[in-house]
Amino acid sequence: MENLMFLAPEITVAATGLIILFIGVFMSPRAKNTLGYLATLGILAALGLTVQSFGIEATMFSGTVSIDALSQFFKLVFLAVSLIVSLASIKYNENSDHTEEFYALVLFATLGMMVVASSNDFILLFCAFELASFATYALAGFEKQNPKSLEGAMKYFVIGAVSSALMLFGISFVYGATGTTSIPLIAENASLLAANPIGLVAVVLLIAGFGFKMALVPFHMWAPDAYQGSPSVVSSLLAAGSKKMGFVAAFRVFLIALAALQPDWQFAFALLAVVTMTFGNVVAVSQTSVKRMLAYSSLAQAGYIAMAFVVMTPMALTGGIFYTLAHAFMKGGAFIAAAAVVWMITTQRTGDLEVPDHLNNFRGLGKRMPLAALCMTVFVFALAGIPLTSGFMAKIVLFSSAIQAGMTWLAVIAILNSALSLFYYARLVRYMYFLPPEGKKISLPFPYAAALLLAAAGVLAMGLWPEPFLQWAMDAAHVLI
C-alpha cells in the first residue's frame, strides 16, 4: 500500500474542511468566528507538510497521483493563496451564519487545486479540476444578496461549464487516439495524435479548457466580471489560486503528455500570450474599478506566464513556475487590499458605494489605512515589475529566458507591455498616497492586516532573496523536461 503520508497535505486540508463543516453546524454565529482560525491552522499545517515533503518523488494509486517537485511547488502556491484568503476571510465572515460553508468551500477548492497539481491521469485531473471549479462557483456567488456577485458567479459558471465540456471533449480525443488517460502513457503513445489532424483539435480544446482557468484571451471574458463581482477574498482565491491550477494542468498536459505536439501548442500559446498580455494591459489602462483593473492586470500576467510555454527552455519554465508563486502573492495580496477598502467603504458608508472598489475610494488610502496602502503599493509595484519585489525577479527570469532562446520579439512585446502596465499601477499608487482622503482614518482589522503582511512578506522575500524559490522552481521545471 502506498505511503499515504505523501498525501498528508491534501488529507489535512480535506479533513479540516470536513471538521469545519461538521462543528460549524453546532456553533452560534459568534462562535463561528473561530472557524477561520481553525481553517488557517489547517492550511498552515498542510503548508508545513508540503514544505517538509519537498524533494520527494513518488507515484501513487496506480500511477494516477504523482508527487514530485512540480506538484509540491504548486501545492505551495495554492496553500499560500489559501492561507492568505482564509486569514482575510476571518474578517469577511465575521458574525456570519455561513462561515462553515465558506471555509469548507475554500478548503475544498484548495484541495481540488492541490490534487490537480498532483494528478497524473486525466480522470483525476478532470475531477479535481471540477472540484476546484464547483467550490469556487458557489464562492463567487457567496454574496447572494448582491446582484454583482450573482452575476459574476453565473458568468463564471456558464463559461466554466462550457470550458469543462470543451476540455472533456478534448480529453476524449486524446483518449481515443492513445487508448489511455494516464499522462505518462499518453506521452508514450502520442505519435498518432501528432500525425493526425485530431491532435491539433484536441490540443486547442484542451487549451480552451485550461485557458478558461488561466484567463487567456479569448477564454478570459468571464474573468473581469467574476473578479469584480465576487467578494474580494474570493477574487483573490480565483485570481491567485485557481488561475495557477490552469497553469499546472497545462504544464503537465502539454509539456509531458502532449510533448509530441509541441509545434501546435507552442504556436497557440505564442499567439495567446501576446494577445492576452497586450489586451489585458491596454484595457486595464481605462478601468476605474480597482478590482476590474486588477482582473485585467491578471490577464496580462497570465500572458507573461504563458510565455513559458512558448520559450520552453529550462530557464523559461523556471521563470514561469517562479512567476506563478510570485503572482500568487502579489495578486492575492492586491485583492485582499481591495477587500479591505471595500470593507472600509461599506462600513463607513462614505465614498462611492455603488462601486465600492472604485478608484476614487482609494483616495488618500495612505492616510486612512496606512498599512493597507503600503501593502497595496508593494503589490502593484511587484505587478509592475519594480525591482526588489517578486514581480521583478519573476520578470527578469522569464523575459530573459526569451532572449536566451532567441525570441527577442517576444521579450520586446512583453517588456513594452510591462512598461505600459506601469501607467495604471502608478495611477493607483498616486490615488492612494497623493490625493486627499475622503474620510477619517480607519484601523485595519487584524485579519486583513495579517493577510496583507503575509502576502507582502512573500512578495518582498521573493524579491530580495529569490534563491530558494528559484531553486524550487528549477527543480519543478526539471520534472517537465
Partner: protein, 83 residues
C-alpha cells in the same frame, strides 16, 4: 446586446466542421472487431474493479466534489441570506 443567432449558427457550424474534419481525417487506431459474444460485452465488473483500484483517487475526489457541490448548491438555493 442582442444575441446574434445567424452568427451563433455560423460559429457552431464552423466548430462542427473543424471537429468533424479533424476526427474524420484521423486514422483512428481502433480494434478491428468488437467482441461478438454478448457475455463478453458485460464490463460492469471491469469498470467496478477499475473504479475501486486504479481510479480510487478520482473516486475519492469525486466524493469531495459531490460534497462541495452539495454545500454550494444548498447554500445558494437557500431562501434567506444574511449578507
Amino acid at each position: 446586446m442582442r444575441i446574434n443567432q445567424p452568427l451563433a449558427f455560423f460559429v457552431a457550424l464552423l466548430f462542427t466542421a473543424v471537429v468533424v474534419v479533424g476526427a474524420f481525417g484521423t486514422s483512428w487506431n481502433t480494434v478491428s472487431e468488437l467482441p461478438q459474444n454478448p457475455a463478453d460485452q458485460s464490463n460492469i465488473e471491469g469498470i467496478g474493479m477499475l473504479i475501486f483500484t486504479h481510479y480510487v483517487a478520482p473516486f475519492e475526489v469525486l466524493s469531495i466534489v459531490l460534497l462541495a457541490s452539495l454545500i454550494g448548491a444548498i447554500y445558494m438555493a437557500k431562501g434567506e441570506g444574511n449578507r
